[in-house]
Amino acid sequence: MSVSLQLAQSLLAILLAPLLMGWVNQCRAWLQGRTAPPITQPYRTLRKLFLKDAVIAHHASPLFRFAPYMIFACMALAAGIVPTIANDLPFSPAADVIALVGIFALARVFLALAAMDIGTAFGSLGARREMLVSFLAEPALLMVFFTASLISQSTELPVIVQTLALQEFAIYPSLAFAAVAFWMISVAENARIPVDNPSTHLELTMIHEAMILEYSARHLALIEWAVALKLFTYSALGIALFLPWGIAAQGDIAALPLALVAMVAKLLIGGAVLAFIETISAKVRLFRAPEFLGTAFLLAVLGMLIHFLLEV
């Protein structure tokens, strides 16, 4: 039972993740006064990419062709571990939050290596910048998770969600700090404004796009899909940690439809907020990004200290 629920939830996440991307793009277009593309636009892009001929540089190594599959698999596993609708996931003991950070790191390292494989100036530039952003974002993300796991005495996501959502209501000031930090980290990790801009290819500023310049067709499609999955996973994580109400408890089949509705509503609101924040802020210079992430890191550590001062 729980295995089929797990598979259904993972498959749903994989299939519906581009929809969230479409929704964010749509909201952003509305806010910027443009005509919005349909919400299904990401699927059309994926279809187009899957139909094209792949163009690969002469001296690309097997690593270059293998990396998109690896990145996609990592993101699919990550999406499967985070509780979205149900909290009863047989996969999740395979990897706790620390391993989840490890999955993201594995995907990122493969992307950075693939970017360096062709040996163009842009590829290595993108890889260097990506690793710069991540070496600050990764410990900050771990600190956010640590705050949550100090509260729940566990690094298992289902147990954390169980503690935060399904037990008696309590206010944790530390989580407020962690939530702000988590938002800043997600922005950086998903290559959104103000750290990176997903919709431009401006040489001097791009990070993520610089890494995937050499990819085309099916490989690019897999990476774009993985990007959508990553955005979905981070959103689901944020919801699971900070707004978990409404999620179905273990074995509670009747609560599933309601949990689905709650999840969709939260994702719609979250996507709109993301688009709104992106619209009102500007991208920062690259060397301001460490300051941005340093702030996130400090906020996360502060959250942890507040947990010790106020909540123990």
């Binding site: 163009v55 596993l77 040996g119 163009t120 010790f308």
Partner: protein, 672 residues
Amino acid sequence: MMATLSLLPPDPVQWAWGIVLFWLVLGFAALLLQGSQHLLTRLVFPLGALGALAIAGVGIAGMLLPASAVILPIGLPDLPFHLRLDALSAFFMVLLGGAAFGITVYASGYFKSMASGPLALLALWYHLFLAGMVTVLLADDAYAFMVAWEVMALSSYFLVTTDHKIPEIRRAGFLYLLIAHVGAVSLLLTFGVLQGGHGDYTFDTMRLAEMTPFWASAAYLLALFGFGAKAGLVPMHVWLPEAHPAAPSPVSALMSGVMLKTAIYGLLRVTFDLLNIQIGWWGTLALALGLITALYGVIFAAVQSDMKRLLAWSSIENIGILLAAFGLTLIFYTDGKGALAALTLTAMLYHALNHAFFKGLLFIGTGSVLHATGVRHMGHLGGLMRFMPWTAWLTLIGALAIAGLPPLNGFVSEWLLLQAFLMTPGLTHPYLNMVIPVAAAIVALAAALAAYVMVKFFGVVFLGQPRDPALHEAHEASWPERLGMLWLAAGCVLLGLFPAQVIAWLAPVVRLLSNQTLVNDGNWLMLAPVSAERASYAPLIFFAVVAVVVLLTYLWVRRVYHGRVRRSDPWDCGYPEQDARMQDSAEGFGQPIRQIFEVFMKVERETPDPFDRKPHYSGASLDKLWFILYEPIARVTNWLSQQAGRLQHGRIQWYLIYSFATLIFLLIFTTR
């Protein structure tokens, strides 16, 4: 299982000593075989590798059997060698044998192009080095320990200075020798304190000696300094980035992977076994020093442009992590949290084992690159994955493992350590309670930076386009070299995929030191220290899911997609004159780190003049500690020795007066 064990003689310590003798004989036999290069590489090194495998086997048996001891009538008349093999020594013997087997198999291919004369000498030092390290692990009295320690230090000194015609290498060797001996003096003093006035230097007496907290702390601090100098603890680390790159690659691999661990072994032996009491602040000190070392090492690794120097700095980082784990173990242990001490100790031992495998692998990987290209500077490499795929893919496993990525072995020990950091709420000391999870932030930062370093290392050396046309002639490593790398890479994968088994296997060592064992709450494929509710990690499931998704995606893409691939030039962004030199150089890739952490470095830049016809750029990020700590010490030492030099006139009557005055002084001193 038990039946096969009972076939062994009851005391593995004699087996271990037998293998040490075998290595000694092998080393001196190599001298006799000077004429035959063929025999040296085809016979001596493979036999040495078999010895390493046997040592690992003895270690595995030694972990299961009770401790065994033997007294050897060698050395001075009244000072026989006491040898003893307990679970702790046995574990480090497994580490040594496992890593040294791969490295020595590799060495039999690596040294093929070396002239037979120097090679015979090198084989002697190499096997003496191995024998010395095993004897350090076996020693059960201070005398045997110090003799073995010196054999290890001196043989490795001669190995470091194999290319002694190069002045930098002689300089690196001297620095190594100097710091090794400053450390050895400190160890001698440690044992002097530990014997507690009995005058008996066997470890058995030391175990029984009752120490006051003051003298125990003195012994601990001396040991921390002495072993820290060997391990490369900041600020005694300066020899490490000089000496490790100077040595031939298999030797660098042995020094980084194994020799540094003997210092960790010594620290564990003195603190948990020989000393009767442990004090809480010792742990705090070690934790702080370890964190500083880890961060310092990884920052400098990120700005290196010589690939072996980069790996040497990364070893400093890993020693820092080991020491931080050691400190945390002490904190838990002195606080009476035995189960948590067991968890942290397990993480530490696991990481030591992991580091031996992946650092050995990476060092011999650079050895193959060095052989194929003759270049150590990463700025002249690139694109080697096409020419040496075996080396590249095997090195990739090592790089991913050391970057702490699942499902390889580096992640497991990092995961265990982070779990231990999260367990601190519960300590009786409120400040430690609060500060230690923050210390976890530093470990996480060091781990994330290690990923940066490894992307740089692998990306610049193996990926991209060759930065030098000569690289097109690079040849793949020979078969013995590949086998050596394969062994170590397999170790990285297996240690990563089967943590539950490894932890069960580590239990005797952990019980010996902390009187507790780590209970795995998970099943055979799941790691769940403390409880499954609290944390769990199942690398096999992890690996299987990723593999299945990769496979399914691949098949699905193949099915729905026509599969055409067109080859073309890379996209040039409308600027066709791009060449391989426009890729990030090693300096370029490290530039953001240099900019962020410039306070720790002394940066020397040479930028070209705008009218320069042949522009040349060079940049070096030097260790600031060298200038603010070591140079003043060197100046003071020089000044003092000059002052002492005034006493020396070269006239016999003056020297007679000195002797007379000394005698008078001593007489007054003793009769009082």
